[in-house]
């Protein structure tokens, strides 16, 4: 082949090889951008910051968002269309569970109360607030244009195995749907799946 022609074709081939790679890098949102998108959601609560309240590692951690949420949605499609329908409208499901000793109960309860007040100041609506001697429950909902954009559930119970559970569901939520689906599912400990 002519040398000059070869020289002109080689860089073109290089470019054609590089462009698809660059396109993939640009098309797939980097993790930081995905995190930023979730933080922009009005119904989002950063549960990672709650870990500072506890000395122990969480016994339960659920972070279903982004690509994993889409995969989970597809995985449920064949067997539970109602669950799929709900998941399609969600942006994230996050759960943290921490052991809670009786000694920690009051302190964590106070911090939870402060967090709840801050949520209210930011427009979250109180749905349930239960205070008993050994149990505290807070359920908050964030509305956006007459639709529910986020749900936060905080449950405290002095239990050294499963004391405190914090749940944040982000996206368009139908509480009635959660209630119907929840009756079908099992909430035995998840350790068997690990």
């Amino acid at each position: 082949m002519n040398t000059r022609l070869k020289q002109s074709v080689r860089p073109m081939r290089t470019i054609f090889c590089l462009v698809p790679i660059l396109a993939c890098l640009a098309a797939v949102q980097p993790v930081a951008a995905q995190e930023a998108d979730l933080r922009n959601e009005p119904g989002y609560l950063d549960l990672d910051s709650i870990s500072e309240w506890f000395d122990q590692e969480p016994w339960l951690e659920v972070n279903v968002r982004g690509a994993l949420l889409r995969l989970v949605t597809e995985a449920s499609r064949g067997e539970d269309p109602e669950l799929t329908d709900m998941l399609e409208r969600l942006k994230a499901i996050e759960v943290r569970g921490y052991p809670l000793t009786p000694e920690q109960f009051d302190d964590v309860g106070r911090r939870t109360g402060e967090l709840a007040r801050r949520l209210e100041e930011l427009g979250w609506e109180t749905i349930v607030r239960v205070r008993e001697a050994e149990e505290r429950v807070n359920i908050y909902m964030k509305m956006k244009e007459d639709a529910i954009a986020g749900l936060v559930v905080m449950v405290l119970e002095p239990d050294e195995e499963q004391g405190a559970v914090f749940v944040n569901i982000v996206g368009e939520i139908d509480p009635e749907q959660i209630g119907k689906l929840g009756h079908k599912f099992n909430i035995d400990p998840l350790s068997d799946l690990e």
Partner: protein, 292 residues
């Protein structure tokens, strides 16, 4: 309300999950490529589940039949055609003029190069990739125009902030509707306990976007990496299945909490503070009506 008293609503759910897990590994089990522990588990499940046992039997039958199939020979005319094409292309390359093209001829020559079969896929891929880049850039630019991001909830401990007794009704009950984006005063640095000057512990919860740059740097709390994190863009089927089970668990938990909270409210609040007083008032009014 006892969290520990939650019970399974569907006793067969765990078995069907196991069976689906085994189905995904059936072919590897038949081929003998599963790790020992997984193979034992699959074998155990095959013994317990008739449907799975039937699938395993079918897979083995198919495997045996496939092994008996002979590889078809390549037709002789295919070999001849491939060799002839290669020879022709080699001849065409050798016959090209050796003088360097210039100007329009060079461009024309380059375009003719692009029409070569080898470069056509590259050209198509390049064009598609450029289109993807443009679409991705447009989408990302649109995504950055957030309608109503809620302000960051990040609060430094304030010495002047009064400690509200836990459970006191907030003075300003939450207003419904969209959050007010223009609340920069709510965007403050996340405080660590060792930075506080007050005994009140710092609240480090974030809601919405990061603090604006005007409010100073905001320490980031990294999401805890785990198998389900978006840091890993590829997930195994087992991870997806685990995530699905955790999702179901979360939904069931929220549902159960809501139900038991409702029962508690009905029993402890409504019955004593609403229903009974109303009934007493009605009884009194009806009694007076009947005597009057």
């Amino acid at each position: 309300m006892e969290m520990s008293e939650f019970r399974s609503k569907d006793g067969d759910r765990s078995i069907s999950v196991e069976v689906r897990w085994a189905e995904a590994r059936l072919e590897a089990f038949i081929d003998g490529t599963l790790p020992d522990e997984e193979a034992r588990r699959v074998e155990y499940l095959i013994e317990r589940d008739a449907g799975l046992r039937e699938q395993a039997r079918l897979a083995m039958v198919i495997r045996e039949h496939m092994a008996d199939l002979a590889a078809p020979p390549c037709p002789p005319e295919v070999v001849q055609t491939v060799l002839a094409t290669a020879a022709r292309e080699a001849t065409l390359r050798d016959l090209r003029p050796h003088s360097a093209p210039s100007g329009l001829a060079a461009v024309t020559g380059w375009l003719q190069q692009l029409r070569k079969p080898m470069l056509r896929p590259a050209l198509a891929i390049g064009f598609a990739a450029a289109l993807l880049v443009a679409v991705a850039l447009v989408l990302r630019l649109d995504g950055r125009r957030v309608d109503s991001p809620s302000p960051v909830l990040a609060e430094r401990t304030e010495a002047a902030r009064p400690t509200t007794p836990y459970g006191t009704e907030p003075s300003n009950p939450a207003a419904s509707g969209t959050t007010d984006v223009e609340h920069p005063t709510l965007s403050e640095d996340v405080a660590r306990t060792n930075d506080t000057t007050d005994s009140e512990p710092a609240i480090a919860a974030r809601i919405g976007p990061h603090a604006s740059e005007d409010d100073g740097p905001v320490p980031q709390t990294e999401s805890t990496p785990n198998a389900e994190s978006t840091h890993d863009a590829s997930y195994t089927s087992r991870e997806v299945e685990q995530a699905l089970e955790k999702t179901r668990w979360a939904i069931a938990f929220v549902s159960e909490v809501g139900k038991e909270a409702g029962e508690s409210i009905r029993k402890d609040v409504l019955r004593d503070r609403v229903t009974r007083p109303i009934r007493r008032v009605l009884d009194t009014a009806l009694a007076e009506e009947s005597t009057g």
